[in-house]
């Protein structure tokens, strides 16, 4: 699908018209302002209709049936795989493993590559800004193998300490660097290409959590030279339960399977089994057929809009958001300057707990997330148990930034402080 040129102006009202859920009242007389896309994005009409069409007209199991419905389902499911190969510029569709999301993809690598390759004393190098989906799977494998997990520190500005990263690669037996592309709390966009180059020079492989990157900016696994990359469909306009693990083919071929079952085997006898070719070796059982077909449709939708245009528009939102929030004296924004971040901001309001902030925003129609955002270790470094987080996507507007700021002043008022 041909992408629209980056110079063409972003027509946010047209984009919004494609998302049915955005046109409703959140409470009586209070319209919805959805600022929680980092948790899960809304879905455009084309994706909703694709799921509907699947169940209405060609619902069947894939790869098994000889009948026409199964043929149609198999063809659509495999077509989605090819679309995703193009979307991240992987070398082969065999490198595209369908998963239920980022978490499953990382656990797959941890339990196959990690469990068979890590030795006692080996280091998996992660960072202090990670989501639990990176931290916990590698802690589990460390327990199983005797390897250990170490963490690159973050600097006060919310970026990773690149000097410490180089130093740790020089002094520790690092086998894998496992890190996020874009922080789900700080919004920091990490320099993945440069960090991957340095990690490879040190002989380590690189696994990237792209849950907050794939929906928002162009991702090219070959240009970045990444070994493993995982992302979720539901954060990028696709259904929950859709997701992808990319792995370098030579690595995937050498890895043992993860889950056993149908579709992943070549031949099964009572004494043992042999494994199917990639990518099916890692896709045991009936997959999430409607969901992955929906992901293919979402990828078409995003590609037609242009990932570089989406990123450029969100940079505009991020610039304005940061400008407005940093003007508020009783509010602390975490994370780096807008040039190095996505359109997401975690913040704290002096004297008001994040859950209370979120509850009062909700009364005004604004959906944000409050809590530790599955990044407890990061919050302990930030010195706060919980933050409120506003996250923006392609359908959000500059006016919604204004509405957020206005509503935050109301939060402050409810809690009795005078307006500055």
């Amino acid at each position: 699908m041909e992408a629209q040129p980056i110079t063409q102006e972003w027509d946010v009202e047209h984009v919004r018209s494609e998302f049915p859920i955005l046109h409703q009242m959140h409470h009586d007389d209070v319209p919805l302002i959805y600022l929680d896309s980092a948790a899960s994005s809304q879905k455009p009409r084309v994706v909703i209709e694709a799921i509907d069409q699947y169940y209405r007209t060609y619902n069947a199991n894939v790869h098994r049936g000889i009948h026409k419905l199964s043929e149609e389902a198999s063809a659509a499911y495999e077509a989605a795989r090819v679309k995703i190969r193009r979307f991240i510029n992987a070398g082969s569709k065999r490198e595209i493993i369908f998963t239920r999301g980022t978490t499953e993809g990382i656990n797959l690598v941890a339990q196959t590559w990690g469990r068979s390759s890590l030795r006692p004393g080996d280091v998996v190098l992660s960072t202090q800004m990670e989501h639990h989906a990176i931290i916990v799977p590698w802690q589990i494998v460390a327990e199983q193998t005797g390897a250990r997990v170490d963490y690159v520190p973050i600097l006060p500005d919310g970026t990773l300490d690149q000097d410490a990263f180089r130093q740790m690669l020089r002094t520790l037996p690092v086998k894998l660097v496992a890190l996020t592309y874009v922080s789900n709390v700080l919004g920091t966009i990490n320099p993945i290409a440069e960090m991957t180059r340095i990690a490879h020079e040190a002989g380590a492989l690189v696994l990237v959590d792209a849950a907050q990157a794939a929906p928002h900016l162009p991702v090219d696994v070959r240009a970045l030279d990444i070994d493993f990359l995982a992302f979720s469909g539901h954060k990028m306009c696709a259904p929950t339960g859709s997701g992808v693990l990319f792995g370098r083919q030579t690595l995937l071929e050498a890895m043992p399977p993860w889950m056993g079952g149908g579709d992943m085997i070549s031949r099964v006898t009572f004494s043992g089994s042999t494994w199917n070719d990639l990518p099916f070796k890692f896709e045991a059982g009936t997959p999430l057929i409607a969901e992955q077909i929906g992901l293919g449709v979402a990828v078409d939708y995003l590609t037609a809009l242009g990932m570089d245009r989406i990123h450029a528009y969100e940079q505009k939102l991020a610039d304005y958001l940061l400008d407005r929030l940093t003007d508020i004296p009783w509010l602390t924004v975490f994370g780096p300057a807008s040039a190095q971040r996505g359109a997401v901001a975690a913040f704290a309001v002096d004297g008001v707990h994040a859950h209370d902030v979120a509850a009062i925003l909700d009364q005004q129609g604004i959906a944000v997330r409050a809590g530790h955002h599955c990044a407890q270790p990061l919050h302990s470094i930030l010195g706060t148990a919980a933050t409120a987080r506003a996250s923006f996507y392609l359908y959000n507007t500059l006016a919604e930034v204004d509405a957020l700021v206005e509503a935050l002043y109301h939060v402050r008022k409810v809690f009795g402080a005078s307006r500055h």
Binding site: H63, G65, I66, S92, I265, R267
Partner: protein, 134 residues
């Protein structure tokens, strides 16, 4: 609707040519189509000029997979390994002679997969398999 089981497929499928196992064999390789359980083993004997002097197929599967093996065997008998290397998916589709749905394409191509992996390795087969990918 096309007639999937036209005469020559039924003929080759039910009376496959070159059935059996050669012993000794210069090449002996087996692969399966795990999705439907088709299984195919190819044994080959080469002459001094590395031409295919004799071949035999063994295995089990649907009429399409067995007929494609039978017809492919007739094509490659007597050919040099360089000539065999030129064979692509298109030849199989021409031999079968009717449009195949996606899942049946896998049945039809099993014989070419066995032949290609046996002689030139998995990478060569993946190249052939990817040819049609948009």
């Amino acid at each position: 609707m096309y007639d999937l089981y036209r005469e020559n497929i039924l003929d080759h499928g039910m009376n496959p040519r070159n059935r059996g196992i050669l012993s000794p064999a210069d090449v002996d390789y087996e692969a399966s189509n795990p999705l439907c359980g088709d299984r195919l083993r190819l044994t080959l004997q080469l002459d001094d000029q590395r031409r295919i002097r004799a071949l035999a197929w063994d295995g089990e599967g649907c009429a399409i997979s067995q007929a494609s093996a039978s017809m492919l065997g007739e094509v490659i008998l007597g050919k040099s390994l360089d000539e065999v290397r030129q064979i692509d998916k298109q030849l199989i589709f021409e031999l079968i002679g009717i449009p195949l749905s996606m899942n049946r394409v896998k049945c039809a191509l099993l014989s070419l997969k066995v032949l290609t992996v046996a002689l030139y390795g998995l990478g060569a087969w993946q190249q052939i398999e990817d040819e049609a990918e948009a």
